[in-house]
Amino acid sequence: MHIPDGYLGPATYAAMYAVTIPFWAVASWKLNRTLKAKQAPYLAIGAAFAFVIMMFNIPIIGGTTGHATGATLIAILLGPWAAVIAVSAALIIQALLFGDGGITAIGANCFNMAVVGALVGYGVYRLIAARSEITSRRRVAAGAIAAYVSLNVSALLTGIELGLQPVFERSTSGRPLYAPYPLSVAVPALALEHLLLFGIVEAAITALVIRYIQKNDPDMLKQ
């Protein structure tokens, strides 16, 4: 889902930076009130965790493997605003140091995966978990559904951003200059694989980790 450089036109990536920066500002302000000086090590280690969670390959079917993005899981464990900053930091490092996702697309990638991933995931989790017991099965189901929904919303947004390129970002002769596929192709291509495969992987990992934490360290779920 990481959009590389060259896929989004200047108007889109500038707009995505403009949309994402206020979320970073609100997240920093909220964390500054609660964490203060403790903020940097807490977020840095949270971001390192957000980065490595993508390295855990899990078996799916017949020798194939997949991995989670972990935005919802991190939002459940660290809180939604800490997750916005931690996942964003992980995405910025991936773009700057590993070429995974574009530098011009950092705003779009952070909005899709960190802002929407964490806030939608956390919102759905709180809605379903409500005031249930920390060790209840309802929390496991809430985590799974939240992870599935948030990943699919992120994928849908990515598809829309890519699909809008041939509409808004064209040459003077009307030819597409960036991602060339229209909404009717980009959205189903991204949505289908996340609805049928990656969303299920994300939901399974989130549910299993929540179950593990419920058994071994339930206090960590008190966010």
Binding site: A47, A48, V52, M55, N57, I58, L73, L97, G99
Partner: protein, 291 residues
């Protein structure tokens, strides 16, 4: 039964990250042109070049900018073959593969160059239209070439930038672009703790691999992986507490100060002026404002 592919893939992913870090350190220490520049100037000019690439409209301009990246790699003492492999493997090749259908008249209608398939009549399903002749169009080919050239040029500069500076310097240089100090500190601390976690995961996976005679059913393997993620998270919380206490014991009181001292020279200003002028002229000539 699940296979143990997931163990190998995770170990391989960890090795890949470590390998990239080692290569960057190796090339950043060479005495080349880009390595000699002040990181603040390089960061600003590379961001300018990436933005410039996104504004260019013709393949010729994009190839010119791409060609300049090869020259810069040469003068920065980066082996050309290694550089080409790092750039072209994955993103541009992946882009070339996904752009293939876009060169056809199904996605980009226009003047047919080569007819590939002929049907008796066209088909339409909702928003999808399959013409009677599926062909490569001139407009589609142009779109594909521009798209792949843009991605390759962007990736070239992104790779060149990360290969010619130490990662810690890159984060320190972000301060010059008015990135908040707390974010710069968070990023540089993340980079350090990332390798601590990678080592932790590598140890867990190696230990597991060394005692695996035959794999368990996939459901058990998935539970094992979930437990490793849970353990990694618990350790990360403990570590953040320890790091904070260690910072306090060294006199930290919430103020972030950088130990990096930058020294700009005449060559840095010359480099900045050259890039800005060359970029401006290229963009204006492409749009027909000059020449």
């Amino acid at each position: 039964m699940a296979s143990t592919t997931f163990l190998d893939k995770t170990l391989l992913a960890i090795t890949h990250v470590t390998e990239q870090a080692l290569f960057s350190e190796k090339f950043a220490n060479r005495r080349g042109f880009l390595q000699s520049l002040d990181i603040r100037f390089q960061l600003a000019t590379f961001l300018f070049i990436l933005v410039l690439i996104s504004f260019l409209h013709t393949p010729q301009s994009l190839w010119l900018v791409y060609g300049a990246s090869l020259l810069l790699a040469f003068f920065s003492r980066i082996p050309l073959r290694f550089f080409l492999m790092r750039v072209w493997l994955f993103v541009p090749i992946f882009t070339a593969a996904i752009v293939l259908p876009a060169i056809l008249n199904i996605v980009t209608p226009g003047d047919n160059l080569w007819v590939l398939v002929k049907f008796s009549h066209p088909h339409t399903w909702g928003p999808y239209h399959i013409p009677a002749e599926i062909a490569v169009t001139q407009q589609g080919l142009w779109t594909g070439v521009v798209f792949v050239s843009r991605v390759a040029a962007s990736v070239s500069y992104a790779v060149l930038f990360t290969m010619t500076h130490r990662w810690s310097d890159i984060f320190a240089g972000l301060r010059a672009l008015f990135v908040p100090r707390v974010l710069v500190m968070t990023l540089s601390m993340t980079e350090r703790y990332l390798f601590v976690f990678l080592r932790l995961i590598q140890d867990m996976y190696r230990a597991r691999k060394s005692r695996t005679i035959r794999p368990f059913p996939a459901s058990i393997e998935r539970s094992w992986i979930a437990s490793r993620i849970g353990i990694t998270f618990r350790k990360s919380v403990e570590m953040s507490e320890d790091v904070y206490k260690a910072m306090l014991s060294r006199g930290f009181h919430g103020e972030f100060r950088s130990i990096n001292r930058f020294h700009s020279r005449f060559v840095d200003y010359l480099w900045l002026a050259t890039v800005l002028m060359a970029g401006g002229i290229l963009l204006m000539s492409e749009r027909g404002i000059v020449w």
